[in-house]
Amino acid sequence: MNKELYEYVLRMGDDSLILGQRLGEWCGHGPILEEDIALTNVALDILGQARILMDYAGKLTNKKEDEVAFLREEWDYKNVLLVEQPNGDFAQTILRQFFFDAFRLPFFKELQNSKDETLSGLALKAVKETTYHLQHSSNWVIRLGDGTDESHQRLETALEDLWMFTSELFYADEVDTKLVNEGIAVDVNKIKPIWDAKVSEVFAQAKLQIPEEGWMQKGGREGKHTEHLGFLLSEMQYMQRAYPGCEW
């Protein structure tokens, strides 16, 4: 088995899986009907991406997609801490989404050139989906930031809570180095300036200040998570744990 590739696929797949699950929690609870559907559309796109990656991780280890997705322990999940943060209010959800989309779009654009056909194929499909996600989340950040006093304040609060989780998006270690050299993985150092520019552009319109350099959280890529992931997993894994192998 290609250990690095498995690790890489899991990191990407867990980002999608956990964020998809989080967004799914909005189903039936959106602020308005139209947005409820919009958020769950995004959730389904992201879950679709997760499925391709879980399936691929399964093929690399002779497991089924569901086993990879649902039957690991908390410390075996390699998603960034950002995506497991609770939905909070709508501002919190939208800002989390914006930070993630602004990373994922340039990331998938690069991944289209991957020598790994599963990954380049996924990227081709995901670029279109993510282009829309980013448009949707950027528009909302601007509307809330440049909206009423209350919407601006809520977005400020979300920014205070989430900013420290953003630099982990650009985490890279020897797994990345090896796969970048093989032409499989994306060099996240190339993505950072694109992300910075997008955040500056949208924040300027949303009348938000980019926070000063401060303490940045990390740990998700090594399986060290915030207290929120366990609760999410217990709900997400319930069916497969209670009814092993169940399908519908």
């Binding site: 139209e34 559309n41 509307r143």
Partner: protein, 97 residues
């Protein structure tokens, strides 16, 4: 001070399902402005690949005929069958007639 409206305006949504066909009214939704109305229409009305083009019109801009005037408005045409092109044979292979 004017009172702040709590509800977004209503919009009528028109979707064209494929090239060559016209936009068809599919329903309505609420949105703060035209940009949001188009995005919401995309999310609410094209999830099952229903369309390739969307029009939105704010509902206040749609002016309608008066239902109580149905008689004078529409009945005079009922007895003028010669206005229908039913006396022609449509050649085979012509669609959308």
């Amino acid at each position: 001070m004017s009172e702040i409206k709590k509800e977004w305006p209503l919009w009528e949504v028109f979707i064209r399902s494929k090239q060559g066909l016209s936009h068809k009214h599919v329903g309505s939704l609420r949105a703060a402005d035209a940009k949001m109305a188009i995005e919401n229409a995309r999310d609410v009305y094209t999830r099952r690949s229903e369309g390739i083009s969307i029009w939105v019109v704010e509902s206040v801009n749609v002016h309608a005929s008066n239902p109580t005037e149905q008689g004078p408005m529409f009945e005079p045409s009922d007895d003028k069958v010669y206005r229908h092109p039913t006396f022609y044979e449509v050649p085979e292979g012509v669609g959308h007639m």
